[in-house]
Symmetry: C2
Subunit: 340 residues, 2 copies
Amino acid sequence: MSAEIIPLRQPDGESAPTLDPMLALTASGMNAVNAVILDRMQSEIPLIPRLAGHLIAGGGKRLRPMLTLAAVELVGYQGNRHHKLAAAVEFIHTATLLHDDVVDGSEMRRGKAAANIIFGNPATVLVGDFLFSRSFELMTEDGSLKVLKILSGASAVIAEGEVAQLSAQRRIETSEERYLHIIGAKTAALFAAASRIAAVVAECDDAEERALDDYGRNLGIAFQLVDDAIDYDSDAAKMGKDRGDDFREGKMTLPVILAYSRGNEEEREFWRGAILGHRSSDSDLDHAVSLIAKHDCLIDTRERARHFAQRAADALAIFPDGQARRAMIEAVQFAVSRGY
Amino acid sequence: MSAEIIPLRQPDGESAPTLDPMLALTASGMNAVNAVILDRMQSEIPLIPRLAGHLIAGGGKRLRPMLTLAAVELVGYQGNRHHKLAAAVEFIHTATLLHDDVVDGSEMRRGKAAANIIFGNPATVLVGDFLFSRSFELMTEDGSLKVLKILSGASAVIAEGEVAQLSAQRRIETSEERYLHIIGAKTAALFAAASRIAAVVAECDDAEERALDDYGRNLGIAFQLVDDAIDYDSDAAKMGKDRGDDFREGKMTLPVILAYSRGNEEEREFWRGAILGHRSSDSDLDHAVSLIAKHDCLIDTRERARHFAQRAADALAIFPDGQARRAMIEAVQFAVSRGY
């Protein structure tokens, strides 16, 4: 056990944080996970691997299974049960993305046309269901009821978070508290579960299991908040999606919540119209970006993200220093430095 | 063990078969299952129970959980584990129906407006995901890995069957063999699993487990074929859906497969156009019905259904005669007599 303070900020002059240490730490495990993913997305129905492969081969970072792999290194687990489980996590995530794209009517995903655009909504919904079922088959093969409980619970929470977000859509009065609750469910629950299951396969004690859950959950929230910020300040290429997607979909995200609460009546009137979908032109987006900048809403969204990132890093204090912990902390630093 | 021949057909003069003996057999268990369903479809997100309740309270027969309950009676299981599991089966089915209605763009379900019409596609997809996750939570709480394997496997097969059906849509060359394979997956797999899990909780031997699987699977195929027939010969009220739904959606079902294969070139030309969606008027439907009648395709679809129904009934021969077996056999007879 170590109890030192883990500094999240890099000392001046150091190079920008990257995901490279995490990628190096998990490289061989990720090969094994990718093999499971490719094997288990197969089906005698050719459309299934074709559609699933479009997204899965589409260059996602596989951040969630990577968390499982990194956490396994952190706790010193020697077996290989986590390969199937990390693949199950990625299948849950992939199923969620496919259904999200149908729900949002997305046109782009990871810099390519979204699956729903190429294959249509019906096939996209059904292949999502297939991958979701496959994830439970993988977990069942592993045989840990504790892992099944964690991931089935997370899946239900994710779906609740998605419905909650849908209910909040186009509702200007969504509060910051409510929004944090939503992204805690729709995004952070799977980050938390992905980390936590490493402690389960390694038979760690409860404190370590909770610490990994806390790490993943806080990282997930930080990650989502930075995504929210990037949607208003970066060009499309950085994220593989169009800038202003959230704006055009009337999504309430933290930059908008802050800009609305800090705005004068004229600005609030603009936001009401925007969130209701009455202002979705490029010049409307430019105006939204200027209002967000005027009230420092991107800076503060990133500050909020940094707060959760710090909590994620601190959660790892109970684990010994070493390559794995350093990589997991730099991943947190990387998450909040994206888009700068 | 008994080995007598089980006659599927009723002797002349007997009253028509009903689901009543099955309903009586499972009445008290069904109350317990309904309590689980109502309890576990709740969420702090109000839209979830509202949308789920629209379908769940909408008067479905709950045939699949009823199969679990009846099979439990058949094998003499005394516990109550099957209540949660039967609820899990119904949640899987409900999730599938919600996604089906999105996929098909259905307007009616069980005689009411379909959930997607009232609540929109996005919420309908997501609440389906929620119920699906909940079903795995219920199974995990029960804790049988064998049940989890059966139901996660069935779920993946159902999704594959749905994708296969989507791929076959508007393809006139779909063969009877291929079609039976599709409905074996999309419909019969859950009937089979629902019956089979009763044998698992009761710790039956392999032969009994397989027999219940065979019963459910053959009943499911028979059930689907009769549904297919009814879509071309009954009025909408009987099914709570519009006559001709399958026709207008360009669905290849057995009556169409038979009519196409038995038709002359002019008739085949009609079917090609119909399945491609170029003929969907009321008079086109009337013409389709007349072609199907001309070649005895409804009679033969029902004969095919009767064949599978007989196999379902025969699968029960290894169980002792009694109230449960008689009810399960009459349920088969009922399934194939519907719509007459």
